[in-house]
Amino acid sequence: MTKKLPSIISKLAPVGTLLTVVLIWAAVTGASLVPSFMLPSPRDVAKAFFGDFPILMHHASVTLTEAFLGLLLGVLLAFLLATLMDRFPILYKALYPLLVITQTIPTIAVAPLLVLWMGFGMAPKITLVVLTTFFPVAVSLLDGYRSADPDAIHLLRSMGAGRVKIFRYIKFPSSLGSFFAGLKVSASYAVVGAVIAEWLGGFEGLGVYMTRVQKAYAFDKMFSVVIFITLISLLLMWGVMGIKMLVMPWERKEKEKKK
């Protein structure tokens, strides 16, 4: 019992913070401290959201498609590259610095170039999502492979296992925890990456919606779409955690035991 109380408090703490922020927000707008066109009230934002609900859903489906496809391709690419880099140390040495460099190029700077190259369709958006999601997954997979217990690899070798079986039974499963940590980060990048790419050209998607409402100075809609995007990213991250729980049941059991 003594242990349960703090855990409930710790779970409620972020919800409390969020409520406080919303309350302050409502108070500030209610007292007209800031002109309402600049900072719409929570109620205005909610109204804007439900008023545009069907349109938002349509745009969201486009953005989510881009984000999903980009994330999927990014993860596949990361898996391929990380696995090859782990297998061939020379590739690791040759590619790792390059990988890091690609991460220092700001997304926003690449996006216009992609649009120029690939036009206004889904291709540049998906490519941008691939570029942003690929790195965290690749690096976490590489770390994961390297975290495999050398003694366990030794043991498998003593059983007569070759590289493929060592990968399958030791390296890959050992990397799962780290992989999901990277995937969580990537999932949160995916939606934002797609939105940024949509800003710079296109006809559909939440990014396009954002630029439209921005040009119309519709602050309430702007706020509603920003909050919406945040929620989608959060849901995606939770989705990843859910998949992790399914794929790694031994972790789940470990946690239960600790309680």
Binding site: R157, M159, G160, A161, Y169, P173, E254, K257
Partner: protein
Amino acid sequence: MPISPNSVLLEARGISKSFGENKVLENVDFTLKKGELVCLLGVSGAGKTTLFNILSGLITPDSGQVLLNGVNITGRPGKISYMLQKDLLLPYRTVVDNVALPLLVRGVPKKQAREKAASYFQKFGLQGTEKKYPNKLSGGMRQRAALLRTYLASDGVALLDEPFSALDTITKSAMHEWYLDIMREIELTTLFITHDMDEAVKLSDRICILSGHPGKIICDIPVTEPRPRAHDFNLSSAFLDYKRQIAENLIL
């Protein structure tokens, strides 16, 4: 070819191994007969683990041969497996899947491998743990699961590198009794490394001492005390004599 009792199961002939300038083993000869339990004693760094690695084929010796049932298996892993103090049960596989691993590595289909592994659980006191993950098991149980895996990995011969040294004395003692029983039941031949002289005398048919730089087997002490050995064997004067004999040789 049926193997008659007391025939040589595992043999090392003239094994030498250096790591760069460091000569670790020189001309080591060694035999293990079917059904025997032999202990390899030696100070830390004497080359015991290296010899195990050579016997299991993980390391190729500079010279010499390893024969299993008369077949040369030098430098060929997969015939003999060994077990470390660390049980190395993979946290992400259920106990039965951990135990079945050597069979899977050999290419046995999953279902068959699981069935075969599960068929030994009763015997190894592991019944009911099949679908659990290793973190749910006690230290003794984990070690038994690792032993079963070792047994399935090798055709009747187990190399154990300080298998019980991480266990508390009471669990260790219980494991000794259990191990002697199971070994007879499944006709397992055992070579094990230990630092613990009491453990060596209590369990062994023979004690080989590996010593020197480079390491050699300097003596081979038979422990003739009949089995099953009395619980107070370790309090008898015979027991002390064995220990004295080992100590004299170890100090060399």
